[in-house]
Amino acid sequence: MNKQIACSAVLGLALLNVCASVAAKPPSCIQPVGRWENVRGSVLEIRNYNAATGAVSGQYISNSGATGSHPIVGWINSAPAESSAPDKADKGNHAEVITFAVSWGTLGGISAWTGTCAVNSQSSGREQISALWHTTRPNTGFDWDHTLTGSDRFDPIE
């Protein structure tokens, strides 16, 4: 009886280790759940990814002005190359595409990033999310400075 309990405990611990090592694996374009970091040290944490619908959700921890974490929602589209560009398959360029948005809550404003996830063949040779963003703020000095734009790159956190 005691042996059984000990055995279960060992098995449980072993499984826990496997789970922990799976969770610790850095995210990728195909398995995006995990933490991604941009060059300013802000973290995009994708907690849920529904491969059937493409829906993603999670949180964004900003390191550039906004404190705390803020919820994100979005979509990934991983349509295979042959389904959308039949005559371009094999000779075209394929990337997973992602869009996600953050609401900055009581700070005011929302941001949406849209871009691709693919291997950066020019520098790191690793997967990264390259995105353009728009941020719109409810309260500004003038009616023409509500929306800002820029670009971001997110690398998987090991």
Binding site: A89, F100, S103, I110, P138
Partner: protein
């Protein structure tokens, strides 16, 4: 005894008419539930709005009627004094919206390719028409293109309430 059901029926009909009238009202910046359309008559329908978090969801309906795609996003209506302390009263306030759609392959219009799009912008009353409008900039990213540099498209779009 027979009068009671009749009275109930009349009351029920009156309530129903009230609900239809409420539903038929075009959406506004503060009450965004309903249908908004762009100049090509494609429709973005906001079906849910959580005023506590700002989360919205709904669908994008192609003008051709060839399909609809799910939409998620946020609205942020932070009051003027909370985000621009020095500018309260003298600056410009607008409710801000972001809408995200995933264009799936299934049910796609002929020629349409899978992709994702985010619209981001402000909602305010157009002083000329007197109606609310969402003025947005959008980015669309497509998974499959001939070259690496043509995955992302951009443009602008104005959404107005559908009467």
């Amino acid at each position: 005894m027979n009068q009671q059901p009749t009275l109930r029926a009349v009351l029920g009909l009156a309530l129903l008419s009230g609900c239809v009238a409420i539903q038929a009202k075009p959406p506004t910046c503060a009450h965004p539930l309903g249908k908004w359309h762009d100049e090509l008559k494609s429709v973005i329908e906001i079906e849910t709005y959580d005023t506590a978090t700002g989360a919205i969801s709904g669908q994008y309906i192609a003008r051709s009627g060839d399909g609809s795609w799910p939409m998620v996003g946020w609205i942020n209506s932070a009051p003027a004094e909370s985000s621009a302390p020095g500018k309260a009263g003298t600056g410009d306030h607008a409710d801000v919206f972001t809408l995200l759609v995933r264009w799936g392959a299934r049910g796609a219009a002929p020629g349409a390719v899978p992709s994702v799009t985010a619209w981001t912008g402000t909602c305010a009353v157009n002083s000329q028409s007197g109606l609310a409008q969402i003025s947005t900039l959008w980015h669309t990213a497509r998974p499959d293109t001939r070259f690496e540099w043509e995955h992302t498209l951009t443009g602008s779009e104005v959404l107005v309430p559908t009467e």
